[in-house]
């Protein structure tokens, strides 16, 4: 099945391009010091708002900093926020969903009503409010995005557990006297990882988008630390004379989010061939 999975995944061009995009940004952020020609904070007073040139590939901003270098370093922020926030969501979501799905009954009812309540808050405004009270640091942003984004994963995990817990191998483990937590994490969870992985990949895209939006509004990553969102925000004041300032970060956000979404959907399709190829082989 694993080789089948790879074959189906590699056959899907969109999924493959998603993977390439994601890998590309990974490499960029990893090798940021090598790639960027300037220090992202270095100010060149002679080249303020200069248009793209050989010296400054993406041009410079209104304080004369190299946009390309800032973009390269900004990709680190996006990646970090995306993965850490989703990691937090996963930990909360898997635990809550697994407990609700496996134990059922009252535990399920209480936990899922809590999920419903959480979903009632407009997440983005909740984040705005929290960040407005706390100081907007990268860690706060990651944590807040993480703890407002686990509900979907919890529901998904619960649904998976509801069907998996009825399978005979779970009964077999119970019949051997294996305890609840062990059954949840050792016996059931590995079988639910597929859909969780898909949700996580799509979640990364969402988190990156949220971080960019926060930074654009000025309550995300604070300058001078570069992030795609705050580069974009600086660009908006000068969009009529220096459109590259807004264009490149905007494109970067778009392509990254698209990449994660394509990758996530590609994994989903490759895992469940019925969605694509149609007609079971008899």
């Amino acid at each position: 099945m694993k080789s089948d999975f790879l074959r189906r995944f590699l056959k899907n061009r969109l999924a493959l391009s998603g993977l390439i995009i994601v890998l590309f940004f990974f490499l960029v952020s990893f090798f940021a010091p090598l790639i960027s020609p300037h220090d992202p904070a270095e100010i060149d007073r002679d080249n303020i708002l200069s248009s793209p040139s050989w010296e400054y590939v993406f041009g410079t901003d209104k304080t004369g900093r190299d946009v390309f270098s800032r973009m390269v370093y900004g990709s680190r922020i996006s990646l970090k926020v995306g993965f850490v926030a989703v990691g937090i969501s996963l930990i909360i979501g898997i635990f809550i969903g697994a407990v609700a799905g496996y134990y059922g009954g009252i535990a399920d009812a209480i936990v899922m009503r809590f999920v419903d309540v959480m979903l009632c808050f407009p997440a983005f405004f909740l984040i705005l409010a929290v960040i407005a009270i706390l100081e907007p640091s990268i860690w706060n942003i990651m944590i807040v995005i993480g703890i407002t984004g686990w509900m979907g994963i919890a529901r998904l995990v619960r649904a998976e557990f509801l069907t998996l817990k009825e399978r005979d191998f779970v009964l077999a483990a119970k019949a051997q006297g294996v305890g609840g937590m062990r059954i949840i994490f050792r016996h059931i969870l590995p079988n639910a990882m597929g859909p969780i992985l898909v949700a996580a990949t799509l979640g990364v895209a969402g988190a990156i988008l949220t971080e960019s939006a926060l930074s654009f509004l000025g309550i995300g990553i604070q300058p001078p630390t570069p992030s795609w969102g705050n580069i974009l925000t600086e660009g908006k004041d000068t969009i009529d004379i220096a459109p590259w300032l807004s264009l490149y970060p905007g494109l970067a956000i778009l392509v990254t989010v698209l990449g994660y979404n394509l990758l996530g959907e590609g994994i989903r399709d490759a895992m469940d061939p019925r969605l694509r190829e149609g007609g079971a082989e008899k």
């Binding site: 005979d168 191998f169 009964l171 483990a173 119970k174 051997q176 008899k282």
Partner: protein, 718 residues
């Protein structure tokens, strides 16, 4: 019946004639042949049974006739002539017109064949209004008539119901009625009774039998169950790995099979009456080849054949007609037919218990279940405050199992047999009563049980596809209980796993395999190895065979017997197949609606005096031998819900023996019966005096010898 069929076939032209049909599927490994060299014809009023194990191409034939092979299916050769018209190569629209009017199909699962959102009447009438120029009112009336013909009581009412409001057997009748509405020339039934309980199956088979007289439809009846085919078909075609290996009138094929595969199939199923001490099942060695393994050079059955010679490896046998209308695809037909006249019945006298047959009385009681009750609370949707109701899944069951023996538990689905097993092992909480197992109290919930207690009871599950955890290798899954219960020192865990693998006849390299790489039979064996890993005293088997093909089933049965001989394991064997239970079990308990209605030694259960429910179950078992006639007992209605069991005797609403009592058994509705013991040693829960029950005629009549021989047909018949 067979003579009659033949007469008709001589008079009328065939409805469908398939010649040299070959179908292949496109896959990424290239074109894979699914069906090859299939020829048959079915005339009006004739019934052709197509049998074979899973994956042998039965359904592909059916799909090719109705033109729904799917995108990757392709006709490689041959013709399908239907009422003088060639079906292969026709456009989809043509096929749809012919199919709807003249070819009808009944599928395995009636719940999926009916639209849950529409009333049955609407669905039935629609069949007519789309295909014929008829008013809705007229179609409605015609549908009611058709429902009457498929013996549905109160058809007016049923027309106004939704699918979920009628029972499974009724649903399948509605589906059959729907298929017959347009009076098709050809009716294809693909495993129509596989999803049904044995008593309901018997009713549907009766219906199919009657339909042959009422309609002159040609029927193709596809089934994996030889007993079912023997019950309704005039002719039979045996498929193996996509090739039709034998074809002929049912009597001849069953009496003297010409192909080694047919012979193998007949030898590997336990007939009702065979027991582990009188005869041995002979499994077919190896397994059905996957399409990619099939070569054109050798006989398709060569790798598994007991009669093979060199010539079989070098050339493929043609289909030859042997005895008139009975033909096969084999070089050594003569040898096989001679051998099959005298059936191999291997007596296991030497392998019998070393200390003789009287052991059963002396063995200690390992498990005693004492008035065990398992209730589920039933959530009422009507009101939040309404009284809590209970499903009495197991209600007051008492049983004893002796060490080293096998207790068979039989009953229809929903009778509580699985719940009883789960109650014993602790997977369900016990509501009342209890029992004793090696000094442990059965009513203790699993989480509070002593680790020794847990170790000594293990379970084998029904579904081979879900019994193993897909995420771990076979070896790891077997190693877990070994480590958990500290069976062997840590460093020799792997050794122990290899030992267990070899005990279930799996080679060492299976250690690293994942469940998805195994076949159903192999998975089930790994499941058994896992259950045995803790070296339990009691193994509960919950329908371990029902999802397996018959040849695989035989090897698992043999292997279970071997285990019991070598390890003295005590087993509770739950099954709905009464022949298998008879074969394996020392003691049998028959369950109905959460209660045991009859229990005792196996041979006593399967002979009068019967409980009337046991009698009906036995009568419903399809026997793979057309020469055997059975008394036909059909129960009224279907199993009722255990939420509101009938007062008095629970079986009173369906019992066919009530007339033996005064007032047609008014007593049965008022009072619950008491246990009575028969001379043979079985206990019966019934009001009718056991002396009268023992006068009842036995169910099965053997060939010629009369009723008396019925209990030992394994010897008497062959």
């Amino acid at each position: 019946m067979i003579e009659q069929n033949k007469k008709i076939s001589v008079e009328s032209e065939s409805v469908i004639e398939v010649k040299e049909l070959a179908i292949s599927y496109e896959t990424r490994k290239g074109e894979v042949p699914a069906v090859r060299g299939v020829s048959f014809q079915v005339g009006r009023g004739e019934t052709l049974g197509i049998v074979g194990e899973s994956g042998c191409g039965k359904s592909t034939i059916a799909l090719s006739i109705v033109g729904s092979l799917g995108k990757n299916g392709r006709f490689a050769n041959g013709s399908i002539n239907f009422l003088g018209e060639e079906l292969i190569g026709r456009s989809f629209d043509d096929l749809r017109r012919i199919r709807g009017n003249e070819i009808a199909m009944v599928y395995q699962d009636p719940t999926q064949a009916l639209n849950p959102a529409l009333k049955l009447g609407r669905q039935l009438a629609e069949v007519l209004t789309t295909h014929q120029d008829i008013s809705f009112e007229g179609a409605w009336q015609q549908s009611i008539k058709m429902l009457e013909q498929v013996r549905i009581p109160d058809p007016d009412q049923v027309m106004h119901r939704y699918p979920h409001q009628v029972s499974g057997g009724q649903k399948q009748r509605v589906v059959i009625a729907m298929a017959l509405l347009t009076n098709p020339s050809l009716l294809i039934m693909d495993e129509p009774t596989t999803a049904l309980d044995v008593t309901i199956e018997a009713q549907v088979l009766d219906l199919v039998d009657d339909l042959k007289n009422d309609f002159d439809t040609a029927i193709i009846f596809i089934s994996h169950n030889l007993g079912v085919v023997a019950r309704v078909c005039g002719n039979i075609a045996v498929m193996y790995a996509g090739v039709m290996v034998e074809k002929g009138p049912i009597e001849k094929v069953f009496a003297s099979p010409l192909h080694p595969y047919t012979k193998g199939l007949l030898d590997c199923i336990p007939k009702l009456g065979m027991t582990k001490t009188t005869s041995q099942l002979i499994p077919i060695k190896g397994r059905v080849p996957v399409p990619a393994e099939i070569t054109e050079e050798s006989c398709i059955f060569y790798p598994r054949c007991d009669f093979r010679e060199d010539v079989c490896n070098n050339s493929q046998p043609e289909f030859l007609w042997g005895d008139g209308d009975h033909g096969t695809r084999c070089f050594f037909t003569n040898v096989i037919s001679k051998k099959s006249k005298k059936r191999k019945v291997v007596k296991k006298s030497e392998v019998e218990r070393p200390d003789g047959s009287a052991t059963s009385i002396d063995n200690d009681i390992l498990l005693s279940i004492d008035h065990l009750k398992v209730y589920y609370s039933h959530k009422s949707n009507v009101s939040y405050f309404s009284k809590k109701k209970f499903v009495k899944a197991v209600d007051d069951v008492s049983l004893n199992i002796k060490e080293g023996e096998t207790l068979g538990i039989v009953g229809e689905s929903g009778c509580g047999k699985s719940t009883l097993a789960r109650g014993v092992i602790g997977l369900e909480d016990v509501t009342g009563g209890g029992g004793d197992f090696l000094g442990f109290d059965l009513s203790v919930p699993l989480s509070n049980r002593n680790i020794e207690f847990i170790r000594e009871i293990q379970m084998v599950f029904q579904n081979p596809d879900s019994t193993l955890n897909p995420s771990y290798s076979v070896g790891k899954q077997i190693a877990r209980p070994v480590k958990r219960f500290g069976i062997v020192p840590r460093r020799s865990v792997d050794e122990e796993v290899y030992r267990l693998l070899s005990a279930v006849h799996l080679a060492e390299h299976y250690y690293g395999r994942y469940p998805r790489q195994l076949s159903g039979g192999e998975k089930q064996r790994v499941g058994i190895a896992r259950a045995l890993a803790s070296r339990p005293d009691l193994v509960i088997m919950d329908e371990p065979l029902s999802a397996l093909d018959v040849s695989v089933q035989a090897s698992v049965i043999n292997f279970l017997l071997e285990l019991q001989e070598t390890q003295k394991t005590t087993m509770i064997f739950i099954a709905h197949d009464l022949s298998v239970v008879r074969y394996l079990a020392d003691d049998v308990a028959v369950m109905y609606m959460g209660q045991i209605v009859e229990r005792g030694p196996a041979d006593a259960i399967y002979a009068p005096s019967y409980h009337s429910y046991t009698e009906a179950l036995l009568s419903a078992v399809p026997i793979p031998d057309p020469a055997i006639t059975k008394k036909r007992i059909r129960l009224l209605g279907e199993v009722q819900s255990s939420i509101n069991p009938p007062t008095g005797c629970r079986f009173s609403t369906r019992c066919q023996r009530r007339e033996m009592l005064l007032d047609n058994g008014k007593l049965c509705e008022r009072e619950g019966p008491q246990w009575q013991r028969s001379e043979k040693g079985n206990w019966i829960l019934c009001h009718i005096p056991v002396v009268e029950l023992s006068q009842v005629e036995p169910i099965v009549h053997g060939r010629g010898k009369g009723a008396k021989s019925k209990l030992r047909p394994a010897r008497a018949r062959y």
